[in-house]
Amino acid sequence: MASLWFWIIAAMITTYVVLDGFDLGAGAIYLIAAKTNGERRRVLRAIGPVWDGNEVWLLAAGGTLYFAFPQLYASSFSGFYLPLMIVLWLLILRGIGIEFRAHIENRIWQTFFDVVFSISSILLSVFFGAALGNVVRGVPLDSSGYFFEPLWTDFKLGPHTGILDWYTVLTGMLALVTLTAHGSYYVALKTDEDLGRRARGFALLCWPAQFFLTFSTLVATYFIRPEIMANYAKHKIGILVPIVVIASLAVMLWANPKGKEKLAFVASSLYITAMLAGAAFALYPVVLPARDHQYDLTIYNTAAGAHGLRVGLAWWTFAAVLVVGYFVFVYRMFRGKVQVEEGHY
């Protein structure tokens, strides 16, 4: 039962990154790719009707994590106190950046919210990447089952790690590049003319960096945590992860210059899915590794009671069906290229 919840939550987090990832990526290229007010409004309209729903995946994943693994929630949220608070502030700024811009037709007002939106999107991407890096690298948990990490210490992988060290900065950069490319494909898919062309150009620029960072991160991960290979050695199915990663990178490289934005976007989504699934697969059944392995938090020592987990499965499944319905409906409603003459933003 706990294993099932592990994979449910991994799937929810992946859905969050794939969906809100393009909002963040669109924010990252926003200031440069969208030059005129009309173009900026088109980017905002492309994500406007969906960004809030996308962000709910993060909240719902957090809530589900709380429900299924209360001890993990307690340890990780208090241990990652500072970065989480900064993420909260950035989410607030990103939200008002999108929502408040259109209320007043004034260039100074709009430029201010443009900058707020873009910078918070960029920093969120980096923080999310660094967060994942922390989970893979391990945190200084002790026998109490708690830890606290400052934002940074000496940027080395010693016993007193901070949130940011050279490894998590690397994963943060990988996340930024990945989501920037992802958002670029999305903007290219939803818009046309100069804006669409510039978005494609951005994606093209991202590709070599994404390729290089993917492999350097994987190599670095192997050296700092060789044990991540254990599950791959044990279960043959793990081979799918590198295959999908390489294939989707290749498809992105091929499809983007040909103007097949949809294919490139799908490939980028698959890339994100494979990378996150690969990380979850490598960690399982550990949910938060300790620097000292005897204190690892696993699905077994953090899960809620069996009855609660069983009951939860009933309502979660029901809710998930509804959620898929809403998303299909909303995305169909706003499908196709952004219409310039209607809508808020």
């Binding site: 709380y66 700024l93 808020h344």
Partner: protein, 454 residues
């Protein structure tokens, strides 16, 4: 250690108090917008549709702030109250996760359709989107109330071998009797905020002589809703809530009422200052025997005072609890008084020209916010010294690993950001009000990029 506890309490209290300024209007307006749209559909009256659109715009700004200030609440259980989360997460994680899965997705997906999809949808489908937003916001309220109700009156759990609480009965937990009345009481409070705000804007327009047709709709809808919900707020919901406190949290009742000494025929203190040192109320104005009557329906009933409970089980901040409760009740009574008079004038057809009453209605809008805040302070201060009533003390629940210095850093950060958000909210709402119920209709829909492109 002591100071870290204080910082974590302030952290949650500040962010929760600020956050709840927005959802109370969201939930209240959501109901009123559905009413306006229903009337608009049935009578085919454009004024009601325009009124619904105008309030939809205010709703949109308000909702955005509710969302962005709400996200930190869900995180803070873990960040600032990790020992509590570890202790009770096996139970309350249920409702918090359900809120995300059932309410947030529904609201966030359909809000866009409600706010910007009127042209794409048929009138009935658009009504349905408004209704869905209403259901989502009230559902969200229920999950939060059910979570709080567990902390006030834990049911449906068992204690696991490691000392944590785990779910024993889903239905006992979700249908906690405390949650039912608290939800009813809380939602009446939200509806009162919505009604008073709507009335206030209508009164402002009438007094200014602008958009009077729409203003009459606002005042009429607001006064009728305000009248109904202010009465429901006291009876039965407030009364039943009080009974539950009497029965299940007797020390809380004594502290709320400022009853230091238990006695038969206990008086109800209307005004006075609790003096903890001497165990009495200074400068009291009391109604003799009234407290016994209200709590037990008998004039001579014995009500337990604070002296019946060990000192360490008294709520920690008795004066603040006492004042919060008295402010809530005082304002609640005042709302009934205003709305009864306004309703009478409305019935006689004199309300729209009774300028003195319109002034009162216009100026009354901030008070439901104060009453709702005071109500929540009563509930949460009243629960002290417990975090989960009878099971975990507040001092045992906060995050030990997060120092006071780190807590203060983020508390100050939130204070700064929330100050900016508060100013933005007032500024943007004022602009919508100033532009009026008709002007805004255009400004949203005719933003043609062609004319704006630089």
């Amino acid at each position: 250690m002591e100071s870290a506890l204080l910082i974590h309490r302030l952290h949650f209290a500040f962010t929760a108090t600020f956050h709840y300024l927005f959802p109370q209007l969201t939930m209240g307006l959501a109901l009123l917008i559905v009413v306006l749209k229903t009337i608009g559909l049935r009578r085919n009256d454009p004024v009601y549709h325009e009124a619904a659109r105008f309030w939809g715009r205010i709703f949109g700004i308000n909702f955005a702030l509710g969302v962005v200030t709400g996200i930190p609440m869900e995180f803070q259980f873990g960040t600032n109250w990790s020992h509590f989360s570890r202790f009770a997460g096996g139970v309350i994680g249920q409702t918090l996760a359900m809120e995300g899965m059932f309410a947030f997705f529904l609201e966030s997906s359909l809000l866009g359709l409600f706010l910007f999809g009127e042209k794409r949808l048929s009138p009935k489908a658009h009504w349905l989107s408004a209704f869905a937003v209403f259901v989502g916001s009230w559902l969200s309220g229920y999950f939060i109330i059910a979570t709080d109700a567990f902390m006030q009156h834990p049911v449906g759990y068992y204690k696991a071998a490691d000392g944590s609480l785990q779910l024993a009965s889903f239905w006992d937990f979700v249908l906690n009797p405390w949650a039912g009345w608290q939800f009813a009481h809380n939602m009446c409070g939200a509806a009162i905020t919505g009604a008073f705000v709507m009335t206030s804007v209508g009164a402002f327009y009438l007094l200014s002589g602008k958009w009077t047709t729409h203003a009459r709709v606002f005042v009429k809808a607001g006064v009728i809703a305000g009248f109904v919900f202010s009465i429901l707020q006291i009876f039965p919901t407030g009364d039943r809530q009080g009974k539950m406190v009497t029965e299940l949290q007797p020390a809380t009742l004594a502290a709320m009422e400022g009853l230091f000494h238990g006695q038969p025929g206990a008086p109800l203190v209307i005004v006075g200052q609790p003096n903890e040192q001497q165990g009495k109320i200074d400068n009291p104005i009391e109604v003799p025997k009234m407290l016994s009557m209200l709590t037990y329906r008998r004039w001579s009933a014995h009500v337990r005072g604070l002296d019946s409970f060990p000192r360490q089980d008294w709520p920690g901040n008795i004066p603040l609890l006492y004042y919060s409760y008295h402010i809530m009740v005082g304002l609640g009574t005042f709302f009934v008084a205003i709305m009864v008079v306004a309703m009478f004038l409305l019935w006689r057809g004199r309300l729209y020209s009774a300028r003195w009453m319109l002034w009162i209605l216009m100026l009354a809008a901030p008070f439901p916010y104060i009453a709702n805040t005071a109500g929540w302070m009563t509930a949460e201060l009243g629960r002290q010294p417990w975090l989960v009533y009878g099971l975990m003390r507040t001092e045992d629940g906060y995050s030990r690993t997060v120092s006071a210095g780190n807590g203060m850093f983020t508390l100050l950060g939130f204070m700064g950001i929330y100050t900016v958000l508060g100013i933005l909210f007032l500024f943007l709402s004022w602009r919508e009000i100033e532009h009026g119920p008709l002007a805004g209709n255009e400004s949203m829909s005719n933003l043609h990029p062609a004319t704006e492109a630089r």
